[in-house]
Symmetry: C2
């Protein structure tokens, strides 16, 4: 799992930060990418990365402010026109109203997509589940309906004790794979070998929580409970905290407090105001660190890799 930030600014694009978009790259897990929000020029940012729009399987929209959706029609359209492999169906999760706007916009511009879009109108609770993942949504506290998402990877098969399996007569080959994935197998001589005989306990999957714009609130904490990585906005800093609440936003320190109370492992701050200069960002990070040590500030094109229970920022 890897996180690549495509836009980390608040409200308007600036030279340094584009409006919101975040790619959750699940190449190893399922060969696809999930996108969270799609501010204007997200497709332009993608042009500067290795991301292929056709690999995007799902787009989650936290809320219907322009800085989170104005890039959607262009991305959907280019995903269709770009050559390459057959485009996969796409699922769009968004608040009520998104579907109508996307349809209206594609219709107006006579944009005919060469792949189907499935729309899921977000309500609190489980909005997606398959054998690998479960995604839960809760409504946060912003000036308009805005959601946060908790992405839980289901437990992974435990370690396969190969020596033990071979000793029980399992031949090298596909049967070993089946056993590792939890299936029991029947040997040529009729013996049944049970998966749980030859595998260790299942491994815990990761939990990533992506929160939309919000003030410090209880539901953020619930969504972030024991999460491995929490992505939280920091539109304001401690010095401008009085403004945060008025505009339905949070400060760096509130985000850190939230992550601490939730017992999260790592926190990444995004959605930063263009007002902040580089030394403000340093200060903002320092302030948050005093409350919650495992914190990062995202920049456009920041990448974070999750491996063996640790989050590492990748530098180039």
């Amino acid at each position: 799992m890897e996180l690549e930030f495509l836009g980390t600014g608040a409200g308007m694009p600036s030279k340094g930060r584009n409006t919101s978009s975040l790619a959750l790259k699940l190449y190893e897990e399922r060969g696809t990418i999930w996108l969270f929000d799609c501010g204007e020029a997200t497709q332009h940012q993608i042009l500067r990365t290795a991301i292929k729009p056709r690999k995007i399987e799902k787009i989650f929209i936290t809320h219907l402010h322009g800085d989170h959706i104005f890039g959607l029609p262009g991305l959907l359209s280019s995903r269709s026109f770009l050559g390459g492999e057959e485009p996969t169906p796409l699922t769009l999760y968004g608040p009520s109203g998104l579907k109508g706007w996307v349809h209206f916009t594609l219709e107006l511009t006579k944009t005919h997509l060469n792949y189907p879009i499935r729309f899921v109108e977000i309500e609190e609770g489980i909005i997606f589940e398959d054998e690998q993942f479960i995604v839960k949504a809760k409504e946060l506290e912003h000036v308009i309906p805005c959601y946060g998402f908790r992405i839980e990877q289901k437990p992974l098969p435990g370690e396969l004790y190969i020596e033990k399996a071979l000793k029980l007569g399992v031949p090298k080959g596909p049967m070993l794979g089946k056993l590792k994935n939890g299936e029991d197998v029947v040997l040529d001589n009729g013996t049944i070998v049970y998966s749980k005989e030859v595998t260790g306990p299942p491994k815990k999957g990761f939990v990533v929580t992506v929160l939309g714009d919000t003030t410090y609130c209880r539901k953020s904490i619930e969504l972030s409970k024991d999460a491995d990585v929490v992505i939280h906005e920091a539109t304001f800093d401690h010095a401008t905290a009085n403004l945060a609440k008025d505009y339905g936003h949070s400060t760096n320190v509130e985000a850190a407090k939230m992550a601490k109370e939730a017992g999260a492992k790592y926190l990444i701050l995004n959605h930063l105001s263009a007002r902040f200069l580089p030394h403000d960002i340093e200060k903002l990070l320092k302030e948050a660190k005093q409350v919650f040590p495992n914190v990062f500030v995202a920049h456009d094109f920041s990448k974070f890799h999750w491996k063996n229970g640790k989050l590492n920022e990748l530098y180039f």
Copy 2:
């Protein structure tokens, strides 16, 4: 008058060319900018120029394809949020359907602008006129309704013969300005001095023709008749001419032929496919030059300055 190209690509953004937008800078003439088309990330391109969104007085939309309008909601919104001087009212000229989409989009995203927008639905004929300019529109030939615009600057006051005016008893000061601008004045002693006594013949204003996506057609020629500068698409080149007509587009050579038949002075090609590599562009320019010598190919951020009847490309 200056032309600054903000996006010169066709269909989709590429690393080298953004989707369509062109700024006609009328700083000297009226202190404002007129924009033609507004592809996604036009506001991002503007961030890299000296253009102030609040100086944009009019936006003309040639047609409702996404690569010509997806940047509009973001630009309108940022024009409101950006600090600085009081924003001026804005007039949007577009084909039927534009107003509904802009209203729907601003409403959906709860975007409240701090300036009024006036919508003018384009029909063939004069779509704007004041004491300085007259703008005429005609429908071109594209796969959806698409317009071209002829911007005519009205004749400018002729040269003021100062010596002659002083000799007639006009005092130095504001009366000279009035005479230059065509007003007659009454001296303290009751004598009337007529403007035409002390000024030369009016000077011809410039004519700029901005054409939307189109095949080679008669109305392009009518709009470009004796124009000083014509901006014309060249989505295809001579080698791919058979495709041009099918998709409602033109080649470089067709654009050049059109400019020649219209008796235009200068031609600038834009709306180029991302397929074209630098050496293709050179070839494309050469081919066009054989038909119409005064031709340029626009790149993103290309600037052209109009002065004393000549168009000069500005290099930095």
